[in-house]
Symmetry: C2
Subunit: 749 residues, 2 copies
């Protein structure tokens, strides 16, 4: 235990105590209830989704029962045997407990009991886990986080067989296993338990859930409000570089329901970690709602837990994969077990939103509890309706005033543009203010690299964050946003970045044919103001909507600017000359640049640079306004990466030197397609013939986009007034244009 923290268990606890409703003898009570179990047993074999899940889970649990119980002495990091075995154990006995309740078959209760007693026999006297890397070491696992995972699941298993056990058996388990286990991850580990962080949410839920099962008010209150302490080291950090203690001294489950969630339900760490945190949030909330309905936990902050489920689902692409904002492993999707839970609990506890049923049907499995039965019955009875994802704009920060994340989704198109103008996102945040990524039909077209980590793959740094996560993935140049003087936003300093956020300028998805979001950033590079405006525009003679990207930069000082486009796919054509070096050298020395090899270096041939590529048998073209002195770079990731921890992905960078005020304007088209079977290429060429900057000053940026068919589109951006009612008038080539609001578009049809 960190000696800085002297723990005082004082009267404060008692003052916060809320009385538990009397549920003496009523078990299960967490995710299952007596009434719920009766309903499940009466409906069994008439509910396809539930029955299929029971069948699958039975096969899985029966195979483990056959294999026998193993609770090895802890020794490995994640990916290693003891870690993976204990992880599998808690997943399996939670399921075995559910099967016992559903099927009333003692085989499952015995299995749970036997495993619990094996842990009971082992836990007393078990030292801290031998691996020392964690800021908060567990006993079964190398970090308290995983011990908390264990207890969240095991408390459900215990709840399921509570009445099957004798009073003596329960006393032995509670005295020798559960209470000391809960104490270790809370009282003994305040640096883990008392944070506002997903780690602590797991810790809180674990302690609270076992408290609910044991009927232990003190544990439940500890979970809800954290543990009191009178000293904290405000500069202490965890393994990931995140601050340990909230500056306001708030802690516990309810505190974790405050800060990380915006009023919209956006979780500040981003969807990957929200996915991870949603399970303890919702499963503990479900238990609280059953055991302590007077807390009205699902109504807390105007239903933020339910809004969070909605936000999370909306932050996924067409395949259901979460957008990899900040640290996020690509491929994680709403098919994950935690989202099955989230969707089931949100449906059951949150007013039966029938859109959730279509996600549940796609997931193809349900929870084996009251919530799962509720969902399966509704799906069976045909209540599912589509979860239609449209454009959304989620504000960040507990007050909803710390920037946000917008997703533009034009109707009738598979394009999705993700625009990030949020706060830093705690320790898993990346330095990528005003960055974007683009998806089509679930495929990445312009990517956010995601994280440099192979979660749970032991060969790759024990499955933990790799050093390239810091040296590359978090750096600004790893994202589709502006880099000044080859340095990252906020100097790549978490202490600075976490103080700031970008600001929404405006968001408008109400107009047919165009959706726009615009935001500003003034702190990433002190003294430099950035405004980025991104639109998806459906012009009638274009096959697909195209993206318009206007990045304004204002500064009194001259700098070098790099604007990277992390395109995915194979280069088809460029409209400029470039040199291909015979040997590849890194582009720079630090801030991510040391990982980029230069594959080509050129200059624009005209005032527009064009690059086309093909991916997933579709064609894409980027057209960008350029200046004669701009440098155009083709880069390839992989320099200074001796362990092959990074993918060898390409990027295209527009470099502009020695400039204060400037603007980068780009259009991104998705066009045509290719079939390697028919060998026919359709619309393989860009339709845009030129992008022209008609005006760019502190009041207006006005752009003309001409196409090869001879028509033009004008986009007007008012730089100083986002009011939707302000009236503007400008003259272009002698002709007056008038409009109301922060932008205008002319020539859509």
């Amino acid at each position: 235990m960190n000696p800085n923290f002297r723990i005082k268990l004082v009267a404060m606890v008692l003052s916060m105590t809320v009385s538990l409703m009397s549920h003496a003898g009523e078990h299960p009570r967490l995710v299952m209830t007596q009434a719920g179990v009766e309903k499940i047993r009466s409906q069994l074999s008439t509910v396809p989704l539930f029955d299929a899940t029971v069948k699958k889970v039975m096969a899985e649990v029966d195979a483990e029962i056959e294999l026998g119980i193993d609770t090895p002495i802890p020794k490995d990091y994640s990916g290693g045997y003891t870690h993976e075995r204990h992880k599998r154990n808690f997943l399996i006995i939670q399921k075995a407990g559910a099967l016992y309740q559903i099927l009333d078959d003692d085989k499952y209760a015995n299995y749970v009991r036997d495993m619990l007693f094996q842990y009971e026999a082992m836990y007393t006297g078990l030292p801290l886990h031998p691996k020392t890397r964690s800021y908060a070491r567990g006993k079964l696992f190398w970090q308290c986080l995983n011990d908390a995972n264990w207890l969240v699941y095991v408390s459900q298993a215990y709840d399921a067989i509570y009445n099957y056990l004798s009073a003596d058996e329960r006393a032995a388990l509670e005295d020798n296993l559960f209470r000391p286990f809960a104490d270790h991850i809370s009282i003994d580990s305040p640096q883990f338990f008392n944070r506002v962080h997903n780690h602590s949410t797991w810790g809180n839920a674990a302690v609270g859930m076992i408290g609910l099962v044991m009927g232990d008010d003190e544990l439940v209150n500890r979970a809800l409000y954290g543990i009191p302490f009178d000293e904290l080291d405000a500069t202490a950090k965890d393994d990931d570089g995140g601050y340990i203690f909230d500056k306001d001294g708030k802690a516990g489950f309810l505190a974790n329901l405050e800060d990380p969630f915006s009023p919209d339900g956006y979780y500040t760490e981003g969807p990957y970690y929200q996915r991870y945190a949603m399970y303890p949030f919702l499963v503990f909330a479900q238990g609280l709602n059953n055991a302590k309905p007077e807390l009205r936990i699902f109504e807390h902050r105007d239903g933020v837990l339910l809004k969070a489920v909605d936000a999370l689902l909306n932050l996924s692409d067409a395949d259901g994969d979460f957008f990899p904002l900040n640290d996020g492993q690509k491929g994680m999707s709403y098919h994950a077990g935690s989202i099955v839970s989230a969707v089931n609990i949100a449906y059951h506890m949150g007013g039966e939103d029938t859109r959730l049923l279509s996600i549940a049907a796609e997931q193809g499995r349900v929870l084996l509890d009251d919530a799962g039965m509720s969902v399966a019955l509704a799906v069976r009875d045909g209540h599912a309706r589509a979860f239609e994802k449209t454009s959304v704009n989620y504000l960040d920060g507990s007050d909803g005033k710390q920037g946000g994340v917008a997703v533009l989704r034009p109707g009738d198109s598979a394009l999705e543009l993700v625009f990030k103008y949020s706060s830093h996102g705690l320790s898993h945040g990346h330095y990528d203010k005003l960055s974007f990524s683009l998806f089509e039909d679930g495929d990445e077209i312009l990517q956010d690299y995601g994280m440099a980590r192979f979660v749970n793959i032991e060969q790759k740094g024990g499955g933990n964050y790799l050093k390239e996560n810091t040296s590359w993935a978090k750096q600004t140049v790893a994202h589709n946003t502006l880099v000044q003087n080859e340095t990252s936003h906020f100097g790549g300093k978490y202490e600075v970045g976490s103080l700031h956020h970008s600001d929404l300028y405006f968001f408008d998805d109400a107009r047919p044919g165009v959706q726009v979001v615009s935001a500003t950033e003034s702190n990433a590079y002190p003294g430099t103001e950035m405004m980025r405006t991104m639109a998806i525009i459906k012009k009638s003679n274009f096959e697909n909507p195209f993206v318009l990207d206007i990045l304004n930069v204002l500064s009194d000082t001259e700098y070098q600017y790099d604007l990277p486009f992390h395109f995915m796919g194979h280069v088809m054509q460029a409209n400029f000359e470039y040199e291909s070096p015979a040997s590849l050298e890194p582009l720079g020395n630090a801030n991510g640049y040391q990982h980029l090899f230069v594959e080509g270096r050129g200059h624009p041939a005209t005032d527009n640079a064009k690059l086309s590529w093909m991916e997933y048998d579709r064609f894409y073209t980027l057209t960008s306004t350029t200046q004669e002195s701009d440098e155009l770079l083709f880069t390839r990731l992989g320099a200074n990466d001796p362990e092959f921890n990074l993918r060898r992905d390409p990027a295209f960078i527009i470099r502009r030197k020695g400039i204060g005020n400037t603007v980068f304007i780009s259009a991104i088209e998705s066009h045509g397609g290719y079939s390697p079977v028919s060998e026919i290429a359709i619309n393989s060429s860009s339709l845009i013939s030129s992008i022209e900057i008609l005006r760019n000053d502190d009041r207006y940026t006005i752009v003309s986009i001409a196409d090869v068919q001879g028509s033009s589109l004008l986009f007007f951006l008012a730089r100083k007034d986002a009011s939707s009612t302000s009236r503007h008038e400008v003259r272009i080539a002698g002709r007056p244009y008038m409009w109301t609001g922060p932008y205008n578009i002319v020539g859509l049809d």
Copy 2:
């Protein structure tokens, strides 16, 4: 026309003439017959596969009719407008003709007639196509090949509306369009028409099919036997570097049915070009069978055309994609239209092999003719059975004595190992004797690069072969086979390579748990004998079968050897130290080496080098015997590739210097898997603990493969006697081992 060829149309034609059966007035007669049309009309709307195709084709043709007819003045290469428009025209009028016969709707006949007359008006006086790149220029297209494509399809359209036209209309079309068109691609272009090559097959079929429709014996005979000529330039080559004239002076459709096909139906150019050639082979054969049944074309060479369809389907992976041997575009599959034709015609004309019906059902469409109806009816009536792909060994060469291609497919596994020991494969052949590639579940694990070409994508060199096809894709180092002194097999010379082939040593797929193929090559590097033996072995304690690869090299002279493994995926781990250069330099200067950057350079730490990678969420490990002085290289494709024509794919190369006789022994395991959704890694480590060479001399190579569970497997290879009845006895560590046949395996269970 090439002045070297003075064409004599002599009595020889007459002597070869076979009389046409009288079909005066009977139309259609090519792919449809009067009886067939009656059957189609009577069954229509009761045959789901046929009806669905009619519906889809109607929508397509109706849209084109709506759009109007355009027959632009020829000017572009493939990918350009005029090329693609004329290509679309011939595809569409063939379909319109079929719809006319099926639906008896004059709209379609009029469309065909109007388009034909637009061509008729244009063709007279049309000069050679303005693009000059082809060795045989067409008129509508830049090469005769595409003109021949046009006529193959258009002759079907003409056949379909033959009776709809007046005698005057027919005379105009035949005199002004069809006969001069047929003459241009034959008499005027002998260098195109008289070859043994897929180009000529198209030419032969085109001339023959229009001849059949017109009832013109001379054209049909020209197609079957070629055009007589008395001078030829045996050294003349085409655009791809292939010889133009067969050394025996054979020509015409029947000659093309001889040389390129082995008795097994293997087509010497490989599956990609076989796919292309199968359509003219089969559709002309179908027409011949209808019009000249006495030729018994489908019985020719013991049914080689039908065997060829079977071979082609067997040379596809689990997704139906053809193995990219020689020049082959990846992604081409049996879903291509030409294979719909091949499968339909082979079923209809070739004894109704019901395995073909499952492929047809997967294709989801049928020909709109007699064959298609035949297939659709049989599918409807439930006659389809699975086309099960098992291990196969196809011999190459018209005599079946020029090496071959084997595919090892262990039962109960998704692995497929393709081993190439064939002849050169004409002008599209690669210099990759004894190479292999490995697939799992349709994914490439160790790849054959395929070709450097983006077929029909105009931005990429007009859609034609890129220069990197020669400088990289054809070179030996681009394949998983041995390179001596950084030179390609046969010095990369087509003139030399096309004289030789590898030889089968033995093939055995009869034994449970192990399948083996072994072949030798003595000409690729004169004075050096190579023998490669590849096995897939199912050992009971392994999750999946693993590949064993024994490559013996015998030479009196010392050389440097490189053995590349073109693994696909992300490096997980290596068991040896290597240096990662700060800047990337090409590995060599020529023969493909100029395209490889060196990403890592090391030496083995033990006598086994191990490399693990992950791809498609599965783990793979290569374990290779090494010598202390071996160099181990990580390479990345992309050096000297200014146009980004090559993929940035990785390879691992074992380099052994200054050695005469040696052996490379490797095992390749597929193990475990990873889910980014559950984030669980299963069996991420190799099971093989060591590979030991117990004996390696001119009589025997004996290998021990030990696994981490402590069991061992012995593999015995008799180097000098492939007889299945020879008895062998050796002693290992004092223990005698006896067996019969060229190999033995001990310790499978």
